[in-house]
């Protein structure tokens, strides 16, 4: 089975029981199979939360970095959020294509997945931690800095409608309210590390065709300016003054992630203070801050506070405007009754709106491709057919 593990982990937080479910190649290899499987696995397990990877996630197809989180909503539809950075790939390399989380744990804690093993680790004191402290604690306890952590914060614990999940310290993916699906299960975080391997149909052909495709894209897109390549607001002098380095998600030749330092010299390349700044790729939130007349330094500090709290910055900025400047975690929590849920799907720069229509967005996520990158380069899956066929052994 190419680019797949062929199995899902199903964990019941109520009992701690773990079982595996085999997944057939037919079920896994369709163009929309990942979203369809997420939805059906959720329904089969009483409305479970599902984390999964796309068909091409982890391949050499450009920007094949995306995983996904699915949670049923009250309308019977599903909330879907991409998982970006290295997290989607590491999830797939953990040994499972999907992780199905059902039930409610009697104690707070986190799910730890690696090497084909999934276990719930009770850690009630996590409820006293913000999302950054949870991420740091898991990495220290499990002894690996590259563990990927999707954490909720106090807003998720409180099942707040404006809660958001935080991936490796950062907010950036679109879906608002999803962290409450963690909160209602007393699930503070899901952590995973990818130590597995993925087979491809024709390794030499996959390498050669993917290099060619990547070079075509680079020629088309030109040099990357990080976030400014996707959002003109990041070209402002006040943002450039605090910009540190650009970092990409897995396999991305044209990254959208610019780190900004506000607590030390942005030009410092060696290790310095423990929390020097923030990784900006949440375009709608940064735009909302700029539109409110907030400069890059204050906007970055607001993002840091919101990320620790696990709350949507747009919801905060809509309610508080410039009064959000300088607020810490405790102050944000004290104002939580003012925050509503924002629909980010149509906002400029969102992942959801990065491709031409909702079907293309769903195809990107199901295939494990970054909608923002593919929206920029032009989402035409036939252009990647050689790279895809050499990876999975057939055409889509």
């Amino acid at each position: 089975m190419y680019l797949r593990n062929g199995r899902a982990a199903i964990i019941d937080l109520s009992t701690g029981d773990l079982r595996e479910r085999e997944l057939t190649e037919d079920a896994l290899s369709g163009e929309m199979s990942s979203l369809e499987l997420s939805s059906s696995l959720s329904a089969e397990n009483g409305g479970a939360l599902v984390l999964g990877s796309g068909l091409l996630t982890g391949s050499l197809v450009p920007a094949a970095c995306a995983g996904m989180i699915f949670s049923p909503d009250e309308d019977g539809e599903g909330m879907v959020s991409p998982i970006m950075g290295m997290a989607g790939v590491e999830l797939k390399l953990s040994g499972f294509d999907f992780i199905v989380i059902k039930g409610e744990s009697p104690e707070a804690g986190y799910l730890w997945v690696r090497d084909g093993i999934a276990e719930f680790v009770p850690l009630p004191e996590m409820l006293e931690m913000d999302s950054w402290a949870r991420t740091d604690r898991i990495r220290v306890d499990q002894g690996d800095r590259r563990i990927q952590v999707i954490a909720s914060g106090p807003f998720g614990d409180g099942k707040h409608i404006s809660s958001r999940l935080v991936t490796n310290h950062w907010l950036g993916e679109d879906e608002v309210g999803l962290a409450s699906a963690f909160g209602k299960r007393r699930l503070c975080a899901v952590a995973f590390r990818g130590m597995g391997e993925l087979e491809v149909a024709d390794p030499e052909a996959h390498f050669a065709s993917s290099v060619n495709l990547q070079k075509d894209h680079i020629m088309k897109l030109g040099a990357s300016e990080g976030l400014a390549s996707y959002f003109g607001g990041a070209d402002a002098d006040h943002f450039k003054e605090i910009r540190h380095r650009v970092i990409g998600c897995f396999g991305c030749p044209h990254p959208c992630r610019s780190y900004a330092k506000v607590n030390e010299d942005p030009g410092k390349m060696s290790m310095g203070v423990s929390e020097p700044g923030y990784l900006h790729y949440d375009i709608p939130s940064l735009k909302a801050a700029f539109d409110a007349g907030i400069d890059s330094v204050d906007a970055t500090r607001i993002m840091m506070a919101c990320s620790k709290a696990g709350v949507d910055p747009i919801s905060v900025l809509s309610a508080l405007g410039k009064d959000a400047i300088g607020m810490d975690l405790a102050e944000l929590i004290s104002k939580s009754s003012l925050f509503g849920a924002m629909d980010r799907s149509r906002l400029q720069g969102s992942f959801t709106g990065a491709v031409s229509d909702s079907k293309s967005y769903s195809r990107c996520i199901s295939l494990g491709l970054c909608p923002r990158y593919w929206g920029k380069v032009g989402f035409d899956i036939s252009s990647a057919s050689l790279s895809i066929e050499s990876a999975i052994g057939k055409l889509l």
Binding site: G85, R145, E197, V200, Q214, H244, R245, M271, S274, E275
Partner: protein, 110 residues
């Protein structure tokens, strides 16, 4: 021939790890590559560590590269330390990591 690493050009995409493993074991994984990405994501500190035959480990930090340095690599008890991995064989003369690197961080020099 050897690989030259310009750390500040690195965007941390991880393709070098994947293509190294693909060349070595015909699978995509970050566990058998001769080159690994070192990331401290909270502080945006990242670079590469390459295991070579002649120079030992080449540590490409953002502050500058240092050949021959001892380095445990970016890993924990569950991961495979770079010292236990095979050294780079330059893919038999056409290093794939250099070909795939989208930013020119990894180049081939004589």
């Amino acid at each position: 021939m050897r690989l030259n690493l310009e750390s500040l050009r690195c965007v941390g995409c991880g393709l070098c790890e994947s293509v190294c493993s693909l060349n070595r074991d015909s699978v995509l994984t970050a566990m058998s590559s001769s080159i690994i990405l070192h990331i401290e994501d909270k502080v945006n500190y990242f670079g590469l560590v390459l295991k070579t035959k002649d120079d030992g480990l080449v540590v490409a930090r953002p502050e500058g590269s240092s050949p021959g340095e001892q380095h445990p690599g970016s890993d924990g008890p569950g991961a495979k330390p770079i010292l236990l991995r095979e050294p780079c064989d330059l893919c038999g003369g056409e290093p794939k990591c250099a070909k795939m690197c989208p930013t020119g961080c990894i180049t081939v020099v004589d």
